[in-house]
């Protein structure tokens, strides 16, 4: 698991996760309830609530309780293309290191 330091900008941490980027993309099309999002991303309600909470803290998403349903929509902070690219880059870097680690393990003793 990637450990983010407290100093890391919260919006950045929020979008470093591919599921959360997916949620933002989905909400860019239309508002959705936590239940809708949990179904769409094949996740438990608890898991989805956590993702939405992180996005909410970063003000990328706002939620509102309407009756018994919590509706999510895009928040006041806009995610621009460049910030998204940096988050994707960081994800790629982590993945690349994972693969390098596995490669070094695989070729041990060669």
């Amino acid at each position: 698991m990637v450990q983010y330091s407290p100093a890391l900008d919260i919006a950045f941490a929020a979008i470093a996760d591919p599921t959360r980027r997916g949620i933002l993309e989905r909400l860019g099309q239309a508002d959705a309830s936590i239940t809708d999002l949990a179904e769409l991303f094949e996740m438990t309600l608890t898991g989805m609530k956590k993702h939405v909470q992180i996005l909410e803290t970063a003000r990328l998403v706002t939620t509102q309780k309407i009756g018994r349903v919590r509706v999510c929509k895009l928040g006041p902070r806009r995610l621009d293309e460049e910030t998204a690219w940096i988050a994707t880059y960081q994800q790629m870097l982590n993945d690349r290191f994972d693969r390098l680690g596995r490669f070094l393990e695989r070729t041990q003793g060669e």
């Binding site: 599921t19 690219w85 940096i86 982590n94 393990e105």
Partner: protein
């Protein structure tokens, strides 16, 4: 959590400044092997390409030299390239990193390898040159946080009165 982020407990990501991300990683291999895996084309091809076919179009491992890797994935072709700014064998590699999909957004990667005997600590610092627009976004976020702190302080002061 996705499979991609759940992979390694030995990765530490921090932000030394608002334009830098520092990624620290421990590898269970001596430094010489880690360096070779990062700098020999035949070895790079075996891990760099996310399981996809990787074509190394250019690999001039010296100061000012070009590198260009092209990944052939199911969803298309992704080109990455840059130039080397510093090559110090086994110790340090500084290069620019650019993706074809975001032309002009150059990241400077500084990779240092620390010899820990049978293990190696690799620290990558990625420096971004962000636009005013993004800085503005970050600033707006910070102001929001500050205002919230002031509001909390106000409430506290009011409750004490």
């Amino acid at each position: 959590m996705s499979a991609a982020t759940a992979a390694n407990p030995q990765t530490k990501v921090t932000t030394p400044s608002d334009r830098e991300i520092r990624t620290e990683r421990l590898f269970d291999a001596p430094r010489e092997r880690v360096w070779r895996a990062m700098t020999e084309v035949d070895l790079i091809k075996q891990w760099w390409g996310r399981g996809n076919k990787l074509v190394v179009e250019k690999f001039e491992l010296e100061r000012g030299g070009h590198w260009r890797f092209v990944e052939h994935a199911n969803d298309g072709v992704h080109g990455f390239e840059g130039r080397y700014r510093e090559v110090t064998p086994q110790e340090r590699l500084v290069m620019t990193f650019e993706w074809d999909g975001m032309p002009g957004y150059v990241i400077i990667e500084t990779i240092t390898l620390e010899d820990l005997g049978q293990r190696t600590r690799v620290v990558t610092t990625s420096l971004f040159h962000t636009t005013e627009e993004r800085d503005g976004m970050m600033q707006a976020g910070m102001e929001g946080g500050l205002n919230e702190s002031y509001a909390a302080l106000d409430r506290l002061l009011a409750s004490m009165a």
